[in-house]
Amino acid sequence: MSPLFEVQNLNKSFGGLAVTNNVSLSLAAGDRLALIGPNGAGKTTFVNLVTGNLLPSSGTVRLAGQEVTRRNAMERVRLGLVRSFQVTRLFYEMTPEEHVALAVLQREGKSGRMVGRYQAMPQVMDEVRDILHLLGLLELSHLKVREIAYGQQRLLEIALALALRPKVLLLDEPAAGVPQSETARIEQALDKLPPELAVLMIEHDMDLVFRFAKRVIVLAAGTVIFDGSPQDVTQDARVREAYLGSYANVGSAA
C-alpha cells in the first residue's frame, strides 16, 4: 500500500540559496511524526512547499495516491491535507462557533449556500458542539475570537483543522506563544486527535515532541539529518552538532 502522504526529493532554492535540500519523508494513517530543527533550518519553507503556498524547484509531493506538487493550497485541503498556522490566523470578529461551523459547512460542500443559517442545521450544530466540547471551548462559543485568550485561540486552530476531517494534519508549532501553564491543555487536545489521522507536527518544544511523536525527523540547513525514534534523537551525533553548533549563532540569527 502506498503511503497516505509522501514527499520525495523536494528542493527549493531562492536565488541560488538552497533552503530545502532533497527532503523526503512519508506518512501512513495513524502516524505521529514530528519535524524539528534549529532556527533557520528551513521548516517554514518546508511547510509552505507541502501546503502548496510555495512551488518547489524540484521533487514531488503525493497525497492519497495523487501527485499534488503543482496543485494549490485549496485543492490539497480538499484532498485531505489540512494545516494549522504557527501564528494564529483566525477571524477575530467571529465566534468560535462560527469558525467551526464554517469549517464543517465547507467540508460538506455547503459553505456556498446563500439562504438558511447553520444554526438551523441540526447535524452541523451537533458536530460543531462536539468539536468545541472536545477541545473545551464550548463555554466560549459565543464570544468574539479577539476576546478569548491566546491559548484558547490555539485550541480553536486545532478545532478548525479537525472540523475539516483531514487525512493528514500538519500542525505548525501548535504550542507556540502559549504560556507554560496552558500547554497542558494543548497536549490534552493532541491526545484526543482521531487515531487513524496521520499527523506531521513541526515543533520547538521538545517535551511536547517526546510526549507526542512516535518518530522524529530533524532538519538542518534544509537537509534531513536524522530520521528515527524520539529515544535515539538526542544521542545522534549530527543532531547534537546541529543544535549545539548552532547555539553560538542563535543570538545573531534572532
Binding site: T51, V77, E97, E98, L105, R117
Partner: protein, 334 residues
C-alpha cells in the same frame, strides 16, 4: 449535561434575538417609507432617487463591507443596469417595468462579473486603481456607443408602461416611489438572509483572513466573484429603478464621481452592515439636499467638514458608532 443544556439555551438566545432584530429593521424601513410618503408627498421623486442610490450603496457594502474589496468603480454595475433597462425600453420597446428591472439586474450581474474579474486581480491600492480604470472604461464605452446610449446627451425615450398594467408612472412619482420601496424591501430581506447564510459567513471570513479561508479549502477568488455578481444584481436593480423612475439615463450613472460618492456614503454610514449602508445614503443625500438648497455655493465645504467630523468622532460610521454605543451601554448594564 446540565452545563451543555445551558449552553444550548444560550446558543439559541442570540439567534432568536437576531430574527427579532431583523424583523424590527424591516418594520423600521416600512414605517420610514410610509412616513416619507406622507410627510413629503411632493418630494417623492427625490425619495425614489435616494432609494436607487441606497441600492447602489448596499451593493458596494456587499463587496467592500462584507468582503473587504476596496472599490472606486462600483457605479459601473449601477450604470450597466440603468443603461440596459433604458435601452431595452427605448430601442426594443421592452417597457414593462418588471421586465426592465429584470434586464437591469441581469446586466448588473454581467457588469459585476466583468469588473470582478479585473478588480480582483490585485489588492489594496492597486485594486483601487484597477476599479478606477474599470469605471473609466465603462464610461468611455457608453460615450462611444452613442447610437445606443445617447452619449453625453443622455438616453431618452424611455417610457415604462403601467406597473402590472394598473399603475401609471405619473408626475407625482407615487408609483415609482412605492415600486422603489418594494424593491428595496425585497432586496434588503434577501440580503439579510444572504449575509447570515453560510455564504455570508464565508465572505466575512474572506474579509478577515483570505489565507485562512483557502487553508480551509475554500476558493477566495470564487467567493469574491460570486459576491461581485450578486452585488451586480443589486446595483443593476438600482440602476433600472433610476431608468424607470426618471425615464432618462445619463453618463453620470457610469461615472467615477458617482462611484466615489456612494463609497463615501457607505463609509459614512458604516461598512459591514446593511443598516449602515442605508443610514449612510439617507444621511448623505439628505445633508446634500438641505445644504445645497440652503447655500449651493458653499455646500462642498460643509460636506467636507462633515466627512472630517465623521472620521474624527464616529470612525466606524454613523450607524457603526451608534451600534457600538448601544452595545457598550447594554454591556455596562449587564
Amino acid at each position: 449535561m446540565a452545563a451543555s443544556m445551558n449552553q444550548t439555551l444560550a446558543a439559541g438566545a442570540p439567534a432568536s434575538r437576531n430574527i427579532v432584530g431583523s424583523l424590527a429593521g424591516i418594520a423600521t424601513i416600512i414605517v420610514i417609507g410610509i412616513i416619507g410618503y406622507y410627510l413629503f408627498p411632493n418630494n417623492l421623486a427625490l425619495l425614489t432617487r435616494i432609494i436607487a442610490i441606497a441600492l447602489l450603496v448596499l451593493s458596494i457594502d456587499l463587496v467592500t463591507g462584507y468582503c473587504g474589496v476596496a472599490t472606486l468603480g462600483h457605479a459601473a454595475l449601477f450604470g450597466a443596469g440603468a443603461y440596459a433597462a433604458g435601452i431595452a425600453s427605448a430601442h426594443y420597446g421592452a417597457s414593462d417595468p418588471l421586465l426592465m428591472t429584470l434586464i437591469g439586474a441581469l446586466a448588473g450581474a454581467v457588469a459585476g462579473l466583468i469588473s470582478g474579474l479585473i478588480i480582483l486581480r490585485a489588492h489594496g491600492l492597486p485594486q483601487l486603481v484597477l476599479s478606477i480604470a474599470v469605471i473609466h472604461l465603462f464610461h468611455e464605452a457608453a460615450n462611444k456607443a452613442s447610437s445606443w446610449t445617447g452619449g453625453s446627451d443622455g438616453l431618452s425615450g424611455i417610457a415604462p408602461t403601467a406597473l402590472l398594467g394598473l399603475f401609471e408612472f405619473d408626475l407625482w412619482g407615487r408609483t415609482a416611489y412605492i415600486y422603489g420601496l418594494a424593491l428595496l424591501l425585497i432586496v434588503f430581506v434577501l440580503l439579510q438572509l444572504l449575509v447570515r447564510s453560510p455564504f455570508g459567513m464565508l465572505a466575512r471570513g474572506v474579509r478577515e483572513d483570505p489565507l485562512r479561508i483557502s487553508a480551509m479549502g475554500a476558493s477566495v477568488q470564487s467567493v469574491l466573484l460570486r459576491m461581485y455578481v450578486i452585488s451586480g444584481v443589486v446595483a443593476g436593480i438600482g440602476g433600472a429603478l433610476t431608468a424607470i423612475s426618471t425615464q432618462v439615463v445619463g453618463l453620470d450613472s457610469l461615472s467615477f464621481t458617482l462611484s466615489a460618492e456612494s463609497l463615501v456614503m457607505l463609509v459614512l454610514g458604516g461598512t459591514g452592515s446593511l443598516y449602515g449602508a442605508l443610514v449612510g445614503t439617507v444621511a448623505f443625500m439628505w445633508f446634500e439636499d438641505v445644504v445645497s438648497a440652503a447655500n449651493p455655493f458653499h455646500w462642498l465645504t460643509m460636506v467636507g467638514a462633515l466627512l472630517i467630523a465623521v472620521v474624527l468622532f464616529a470612525p466606524r460610521g454613523l450607524y457603526g458608532t451608534a451600534a457600538a454605543l448601544v452595545q457598550r451601554v447594554k454591556g455596562g448594564r449587564a
